[in-house]
Symmetry: C2
Subunit: 147 residues, 2 copies
Amino acid sequence: MAESQDWLTQLKAHGYRLTGARRAVVQVVASSARALTPVEVYDAARTAYPALGLVTVYRTLEKLEELGLIQRVHQEQGCNAYLPHAQGHQHLLICQRCGRAVYFDGDDLTALFARVGDEHGFVVREHWLQLFGLCAKCQPEVNRDVS
Amino acid sequence: MAESQDWLTQLKAHGYRLTGARRAVVQVVASSARALTPVEVYDAARTAYPALGLVTVYRTLEKLEELGLIQRVHQEQGCNAYLPHAQGHQHLLICQRCGRAVYFDGDDLTALFARVGDEHGFVVREHWLQLFGLCAKCQPEVNRDVS
DNA sequence: TTCAATGCAAATATTTTGCAATTCG
DNA sequence: CGAATTGCAAAATATTTGCATTGAA
């Protein structure tokens, strides 16, 4: 994936070395359409780089987050999964069945949120917005799961 | 606090017993204006009920959440703090300095979110919105912190 | 009196740290 | 070669479970 290469370039640009472990982790996370936990990254990346240690996954994710290349995703099931970060100001729409995540634009919401803050004497500096639902592929499947 | 009494009534109504430990935990959480972690609840509630165990705090919070009386709050610093739940459909506005939380109304957002989902082939079933900023009291303080 | 609830201790799970060996540049 | 990076083992945290005792109804 092109994104994967770009991340490696970014790491290098910030003085980090390009190691086998990092390449494997980057490859996995950069190409995932759903948020992955450290252990999931570990398992997936070991097929490409068997000597990988879980600690290195933690440390690499930390650096990728610091560089703004990935973002932590909070869900009911847990808050320690990571996804490639969107460009600009975007919000997440996550499938509750398969975990697939897509970003959507929310620029027009900022003004609304500032107004809400005003009404309570707050200055709003950040907002978190996530939508949960079912993606096109999973909508028919859910009925099947239940029956 | 009146809310505290109401929670105890709810617990009883669902077949749970009203014990000293539960009264202490309920009292602390129901009257808090900011989200508290299990350990914070534990420390605060022990002044009223010294024999309290941390495990009981976990178990009580679990029941309160199950009854919809409290809700888990996710923040940058952690995702294991609880706050009294709002009535109806409300969202959180949290002060980044003192932690004070207030709810605001978000009914009008539902239609907008459904439309966003549509554009991506999703059926939106839930949404999650939180605003972060500075409350009236903390706005002047922040400048002082920095200088 | 009965069984839910408790608190302790121990088990799990998750994340972080110390450190000697390895490897990128 | 030298410093950054790695993986292991161990430590530190956070949460859950087993179980004998206690106490609410």
